[in-house]
Subunit: 352 residues, 2 copies
Amino acid sequence: MSEAIRYEVNALSTFVERLFENAGADAEVAQVVTRVLLEGELLGHRTHGLNLVSRYIGGMLSGQVKAQAAALEQVSDSGVASLFDGNYVLGPYCVSRALDCAASGASAQGIGIAVVRRAAHIGCLAAYLKPYTDRGLVALVYSSDPSVGLVCAHGGVDPIYTPNPIAAGIPTRGEPILLDVSMSTVTMAMVSQCRDNGSKLAHPVLMSNEGKASDDPADFFTSPQGSILPLGGQGFGHKGFALAILVEALTSGLAGHGRKDCPDQWGASATAVVIDPRFFGGLQAFTDETSFLGQLILASRPVDPERPVRLPGQAGLALRSKALAQGVSLAPTLVADLNQLAAQLQVAALGH
Amino acid sequence: MSEAIRYEVNALSTFVERLFENAGADAEVAQVVTRVLLEGELLGHRTHGLNLVSRYIGGMLSGQVKAQAAALEQVSDSGVASLFDGNYVLGPYCVSRALDCAASGASAQGIGIAVVRRAAHIGCLAAYLKPYTDRGLVALVYSSDPSVGLVCAHGGVDPIYTPNPIAAGIPTRGEPILLDVSMSTVTMAMVSQCRDNGSKLAHPVLMSNEGKASDDPADFFTSPQGSILPLGGQGFGHKGFALAILVEALTSGLAGHGRKDCPDQWGASATAVVIDPRFFGGLQAFTDETSFLGQLILASRPVDPERPVRLPGQAGLALRSKALAQGVSLAPTLVADLNQLAAQLQVAALGH
């Protein structure tokens, strides 16, 4: 039986960058997109890591997705507030540019915000944050996709909006706190995974098209489609629903491009907000507070003695450290997939 | 049997302002605090409306709470980012000043943020938002209280942090969307209310001090104290927990004053963020999008035909319109309470 093989991170990074470049990406775009996808992989987000490489390159080769830095257009800039039109450039490049722009506003005046409309798939939001927390900045990313409806309103049956995640990186005196949570009970990836495995969901987090709560993925894949319940479920779904509307407003609302435009191409609206604690109570007081809170949390008695309480991002950061030290372990199917792409793009294959 | 009596809003406002002034508040502080408490009452948040008047004035008279505008100190200001030290000034005044300051940054450059530490009780966050949405601004308020621990970490037993609400006002072409949701399953007010009524909670949202989920308020009021589960409950509480940590960071973290300081006086950390859509895709595109989304939501088939789907804030705004037209209905016990205060402060009583 074939087992996962470990690859050294720098070698893997060079390989993936070369794939994007040979598929036609600008060097800068190839570098940024590779960094974000590899970071997703390192943090253990396998469905939003290197696994996306062939999908992204497929989009480039079919002409649906752009990979030129110049195609990402800055529509407005006040110094602290910007709007970008992504023109369906590779999403990780769009979001990274938005975060850099927001960080520059934050470093100058304490806060910055940049909104992107029509970014291609943006991957895993948690993968964007560490470069900013490493600089002592608080970084938030919100996203939605106005071409997709999956989640119902609280008390409603029909699928209307996307899981609309909120992600944030929070500096502490040690490792950052990294959170990345959707405003729905579960994501589409989870529903599809249960369908593919023939399993039920752990909770009745779906709504059938007839208005019955269900744990059966078959009740989602119907015509008309079922929906996913908002975070909070049947009892407290008004909260996840309200927060999801806020995310829609901060992303597609500010972007001026959303559901009203009935876009037919998958494309994210994403908003980056960066805050510099030095403009408020100071970075030291900030990290003293977040570290103190982190310690209180980690000292909590666990409900299950086998499962100590963890901070958001802690498990992913431990995987990341291990991968940096020992190499990234990739499934043989993923390696075969990447090597097929490498052959097509005349890039030297990854070794075994 | 005595029934609720309706009072004309302007007369009530003048009466409450006079109470605060005669108790020693600056005219400006009295006016702002009255507006916020009355707005909470109009929106139907009875526990966070005029009901707070005697508590607030009690705090002033005992010297714990200040009511002088000059006692609210602006510690830093970059034009878009400010820090205030509330010095335990009446919270609605502190938060309103923070919102005004953030709105001024937003109007100048697209976004503004103001953080307040050590505000006295800040009431109902939803009550702050409409003046900003009326001007076409998106307004967010976050708050926490570092002197109080009520909610447990996901997977943990011990109470650590506060319900940490996120509130936002979102302009549309019609009435705004107003959301105000805690990052815990329920608030402390709900737990106390169930205890007082001798009822159970509708869901097992408490954690006993022995690590058992419970719907019995008695399991909260123990020694050591029980705790409230994060939004998402036992299945998805990692999401509410993560968002609550974000709120702690954005409030007490940026404020540079939090749990690490072990404050022994009740006092909020609050953060106001205001965004002007005109600096992005424009106000018209923003309200077109939020109105379109609102219509999609309102057109949802309801799970229960008797309960049509509603937007966040819709029910409160309907109560508000009715109260403005027909007067505010106050419970006789509240009127008696206010009139007792009026006698003490030499203010003419409210009529019957």
